[in-house]
Amino acid sequence: MKNINLITRRGFLSNSFKISAGVALSTLVDIPLVMKRALAEGNIGLNGKKLLFIFLRGGMDGLNTVVPIEDSAYNATNRPDILIPRESGGYYSSPGQCDFPVSSADPSASNYSTFHYNRAIKTGNGFAALHPSLKFLAPVYNAGELAVMHRVGYPKQSRSHFDSQIYWENGSPNNNILKDGIFYRTLIESGLAGMAPLTGVSVQSALPLILRGSGAAMTNLTDPTRYNLLGVPNTTDGNLKAEQALIDSNLFPFPAKKNRDFLALQYKNLTDTLPIFGDIGFTDAGNTFRDDVNTDGDTEPYYLFPTNNAKNGGYTLHGNDSDKYVVDTGAYSFFTNLKAAALILNKTDAIIAGTELGGFDTHNNQGSTTGAHPNLMRRIGWAMYALRKYFINNGDKATWDNLVVVTLSEFGRTTIQNANAGTDHAEASAMFVAGGGIHGGVYGCHPGDPVPWLTGQAGSMFGVSNRYLKRAIDYRSVLGELIREHLGATQSQLGRIIPGYANAGESLFTGGTSSLDGTPIIGEVNVI
């Protein structure tokens, strides 16, 4: 017996690896303590609640998304090429339901096209309106399950994409040092990260900072339909042999180098998750999920996840008519990723999953009711509609009542358009929060808010440097409330997940005047 068999070596190395991992953790400042504390408190991961995030990268123009239609500063002088037109009369000031401009199935009707309606959609809060391409938000909103948050930002807002994305993701404004993400820390506090193979998952090109950290590996899938290995020969047996060899190699010890602990965590996460995803139908053939009603005046239920033309709204119902698309054809990869994130939350024990949607950096030809920004609005609107229906009708390990969907974006855009019919980097923007337990409505976009929306050329839209929309809600208050009230963190855990919560002067919980820049903020809005 010259050689040790694989099983024996594995057992032997397995032991070694545990020691190694323990040591690696101990080199971090306080992760082991955090993990110990987590075992003693909180409900994250134990209460069945889940969260799905969509990061809208590039800086979303909040003013053309959730339109302050009753603010006189929202006008054609400030936004000559990109203004969202209003309906005439006192239409928007009357409270009530959100309008859902339904289309007709009759090609000769003037409202035949899915996005025939080209004016701001009344939300019924008496002040705010939605971009017409967000029409599919209306059913979610009217079910009381959509919260529209406006004027969301943070103190001393950075207008750099990269810095601002870092701050949104690490949960610590103006801190470039903190290298782990807000949802990563949430999952560390659950006590499950590093023990359960799957806690946080992203479906995009690379693991985002929001899920990144050095103590435990979160999972990113670039293409979930290809999540397996190839042996030589590429047969069932050959593949197993290759996979076993890789699993064994995870346990090889190594001298310390920068990045080696990080690589080891990710390798282990790969081999831990290989078997889990094998049973989930990620391929497009498995995309059979359809609406349970004929929506938007059409004759058959639409597919929920438009991943190709045939599954895109009423396209095939009307002789392949692109007028009946619910999203543009460039949206398919986003919906493929969104579907995978939804399936993972629904079919596995993952607690947080998400993806991203790019293209919001609309410096140039942003578009009013058609074009670049409107196409993105269509994606958001349909995504929320589809996620709600998917989880209501197919809920398994995640149900609509146990789920929150949240969008994030690093900043808003200039109140006045630039010379290219676009908008540049600015400050506060809008967030959407949806879920069966959400207290729906519009927050932060009304003159009667605790921090009032001031109208006119000297109002909120020019509240910073006479150029930018001033924040009234800190994004950390929104995420903080969700992490505590929904995911089940205790208040003290929240202080560790979002450091600003531990500083009463920031007023993230109660609202008040931020000690960092003297700006009044609303605090938590009781969104759930």
């Binding site: 050689n3 290809r226 290989l274």
Partner: protein, 880 residues
Amino acid sequence: MKKFILFGWMLLVGLIPAITDAQVITNFNSSGQQKGIRFPLDAAIKSYDVLSTTNLNQPFTLNPSFVYAPFYDTNTVSVSAGEIILDNLAGTSSGSWTAATSSNDKYGSNYRYKVQGTGVAYFDFRPTISFAGEYDVYTWHPAGSNRTAGAPHVITHAGGSSTVYVNQKVNGGVWNLLGRFNFAAGTTGYVRITDTFADAGQLVMADAIRFASVIPIDVETHPIAGYEWRATQTAPQSFYKIAVTPLSGDEALTATVLNRLAYGQTPDELERILTGPNPIGPEAYIQEQLNFELLLEDVAGSHTNFGIIGPRFAGPTDVVDYTFAQTYTTNTNTLVVTTNNVHSSTNAAIADFRAWHVLRAVGAKRQLLEVLLQFWENHFVTQYSKSFTYFGRFYNGDSGVRENRLATQAEYLEIDRWRTALLNPQCTFYDLLKISVESPAMIIYLDTVDSRGDRSNVPNENYARELLELFTVGVDNGYDQNDLTLLSRAWTGWRVEIVDPANAFNPFAPRTTVNLPSATNNFTAVSNLFGVWAFNYKSQFHYTNTPTTLFSNKFVPARFGPYYASKTYGTNSVPGLYSLTMPIRQGTNGIQDGYDVIRHLADLPFTQEYISVKLCRLFVHDEFTHGYDFADGTWTPEKELVWQCMAAWEAGSPKGQIRAVVSTIFNSPLFRSQEAAGQKVKTPLEFTVSAIRALRSSTNGTFSAGTFTADTEGYALNTPLSRMGGMLLFDRGDPDGYPEGAPGWISAGTLNERIRFVQSLCIAPGQFGHSGGQSGTGNDAGNSTSNPVELMKSRLLSDADRRNATKVVNFFLGILYPGEGAGNLELYRQAGVQFLNTSDLGDPSLFNVLTVSSVANNVYDNRVRGMVAMLMSMQRFQEQ
């Protein structure tokens, strides 16, 4: 057969401070009875080799040249070493347990029993575990009909406690397995038998417990590095005498140099530098690469695609038009059409350019030039698809073909100009910046092309922001939002235009008025014009309202130290003041604003710092950041290196010579130390190219097309790069460029794609997994191929060697992990040998009886290919 019996092991990583040699350790348990050797995992040690066995009397002294490992003779210690048997005599009890001897199937001389109870009574077997690890735990009981069918055995182990119920009516007189548990060293683990069983009127037995270490180690194949070997003084023992061979500086440096100055090692380069006859050594290689313009670049001969793609690139004065297999020239407004047989029917498209670019990375002699080009291309990032969209304003009906050609040309011209600039040994940062600023691709990418500053127009801030934040001084480094807004005025009027080819370098030229011969109607449409798209300045859009002062009243901060604080900058006479005023400039004079700005920015200390930091991240490791306090007197190696780079930048005439800065890095201890090796993680481009290069040897020594044991036609890397995290060359969406650091690239999903790529690369062409096959596979490596058996055969010449698993594995370890101490690769070696000796089904299958063959799907070929794929799937192949 002599055997080491390993009693325990412990990973040394992090447990103890780094040590550079094996150490004898004593008194490592509380009783002071034991003695052993610590073998560090250390990149500085090349190998531990067993020299001889020596019976040494204790205490032994350490000869500094050698280290010693204890071993036991198999005659005196059984292979089940690590076994601890506790008879009930060694146990402790609570409650009234009765000793008895009558059962014949007892262990030892007696046993204990007790009647049913509440669990207050128990019998404990508590071993002293010397070495943490996994143990199989067994129990022994005398069986009988009056015993409980569920004797509770509570095992307290490192992972908590577990209860196993044992039927004591049967299976007496043998060891019954309770399970495999992990125990910490010491006495915290134990087995407790309690009296809380369910069947009333029965008895529970407590006789003996056995803890058997599950790993008897065969010392001749067991790795030494990274473990402690221990012996107890009470046992008869001897020692192996072991030689420690340090890794030579050249070996470690060669690996670093080939990973950083080049896209990884090739077997041929390794031999030329290090392992072959008359090696030149890594120093000579560094000098070769630092003077790359002197190297003969014969990459064009290494693949036939160079001959196909190269002629299709359109130069700055070449008209891009896909509709004719012709080139055009103008002669005083008369169009001369010449059929050009060298050109293929189309100009290069983006896929061609990408293939050409990666083919150079794979095969170029001037590796450092290719590395630097990729760095600057990624630093001054532009986006193919943004240009594509822009040209779409003028061309439609071409199915995007002409937009593709034009956008590709815009990207190609940047690389072409940077290449020319870098070939000058005195090339400066300013030279490279100027190329970027004037590039149509950049003017389009960050929206300058539509920016206006005339009348009441608000200039687009996009380019001004990224010019400061990403391309020169670095984020929040010496500017504020106001500077950025003001700076956006400088670029108003910078546009692109289609001009007569003769005017390609005249930014004031009007739009061409010559029509294409194909234009039979609509002569006013831009799509019908004959000309080249070039940088063009439109003075009517330039901001001329007021004079603009950038960095007004801003001084170089004290953190840069007195030298930079006391210098004057630009036309300022006040030391440290670095403001820049752009006067009102009318007409074409307005173009000067932009040039003034880049001349000013190029050598500011902020820029020197930020660019040096980025180059250090490229060549050393990820953990450099701008914002160092150079004045505070404490120096980390990182801060010091950045400072030295800035000194090299400042000392040159002209300032900012790229070669001077990178030469400073290559000469630094941070770069040269053995610790520096393997600190970085490969980007997808580096990973795929290095995988091909690692197996790429010229079979006839000519480096000519078709003679390599691993190759690619270039195009095949596009899809894998996309899958590994969206690394679309020349098409980065965000202006920060693709990440250099590991976190931006590494996650389970991208690792899956990386591993699949090397696995597919190792599968023979035509076989499943290389070309189609398994569900969801497609064509991972595509037209990237390797033939590891042919490569190995070119170095292992005898049939016996080729069937010797250890030699085969050692050969591949040598070319895949040069500069890595053999001790550190011991587990890789074992895994490789094991793999070669295992069938696909996982059964033992001797490698040395296979017939050597490189025929696809032959058992031998598959074995070797699979083993190489496994070695390349390992974590360390991700590192550079």
